[in-house]
Symmetry: C2
């Protein structure tokens, strides 16, 4: 999250579009189209497609440069392993794209057997529900049986539109109140706390 | 804020102390001693003074490297000018140190005539009230007549201990609820919105 915010802030500043960090932070994870429109609103003028593409490219370069390695959130790998061992189906639904997301998936120990839905697989990104609905279809389960786990307000809003309960994590740097107000069913610090709370959620007995 | 979070995150990771960004974010602006103790708590072991000093130094290097230029928050310069024109006394009370803060002060148009209280001037940093109390003494006004303007929870807590009302700004990336719960008298987006709200606060007629 913080590397994304900082890369966007730098990419925008280099292009002469100075925008405060907190405004970028609160918009990470929303679709690129919405993000660009939000930037345009801040600047008070439209962005051309070429400008938007150049920003996206430069953000990607800076992100790779400043964050060469990836690190899983505390407990993330263990959580996925426990779900797998218990026969609980899970998938990854991300607004990121391959190959940018490959290293994050590697770092989580996610191989070809796991359902991964990425930005290109659906028409509309968050806060539209498409990523979550397509992931649920591929998992072959009902929306009623799904929990979405997310750490940005856009995840929560998209989950509600998909009629799924959503678990908020504090890792996105939003406050607990913001996540709760956006509709979080429960809020945990990180995947580790979620892991030990799976019984609260009825996921593990 | 975001450059600080990211510089700490990198400095800690380089030293083999991987800590999540949001945990660092929520601790920016507190005293270095408290920060180090919070890091130690996350890691589950004490940090030596040498380790703490090395981290602080590396953070400073990375910060300079990734954020070569400074930029004032929207409306900050205009706000200070308006206060000056209206004869309202103001000062800067920061947990930063010279020379690191020099460029930020330049960028705000702050010269030698303005009271600047920095970390070295007081014994204890935020959330202790010392920075604000010493600034108020140097301004020659009563605590009852002061507003503290801050964008982190530590500013608000320190202001309450100093018995001053505190205005929260969203620029620190905390949510409005977090600032309000920490005791903010009012919360504004940025100095620009604070500027047009000075009449609400009784600062300008």
């Amino acid at each position: 999250m913080y590397a994304h915010v900082f890369s966007w802030q730098r990419a925008l500043a280099e292009a002469g579009m100075a925008i405060d960090g907190w405004k970028i932070h609160r918009r990470i994870g929303m679709s690129g189209g919405l993000f660009t429109r939000a930037v345009a609103r801040e600047l008070g003028r439209e962005l051309s497609q070429a400008e938007a593409d150049a920003l996206q490219r430069r953000h990607g370069e800076l992100f790779q440069e400043i964050l060469p390695e990836r690190r899983a959130l505390p407990g993330a790998r263990e959580l996925l392993r426990a779900l797998g061992d218990a026969g609980v189906k899970y998938g990854i639904a991300t607004s990121g794209r391959r190959p940018e997301i490959d290293r994050s998936l590697d770092c989580l120990g996610i191989g070809g057997e796991t359902v991964v839905v990425e930005r290109r697989d659906v028409q509309r990104a968050k806060p539209a529900p498409d990523l979550f609905l397509y992931c649920q279809q591929r998992l072959g389960v009902s929306p009623d049986d799904c929990y979405v786990v997310g750490d940005a307000v856009w995840d929560l809003l998209a989950a509600r539109r998909a009629k799924m309960l959503c678990i908020g994590l504090l890792s996105g740097g939003y406050g607990e109140d913001e996540l709760t107000r956006a509709g979080a069913f429960r809020v945990y610090r990180d995947p580790q706390e979620l892991h030990v709370s799976l019984d609260e959620l009825g996921v593990l007995p």
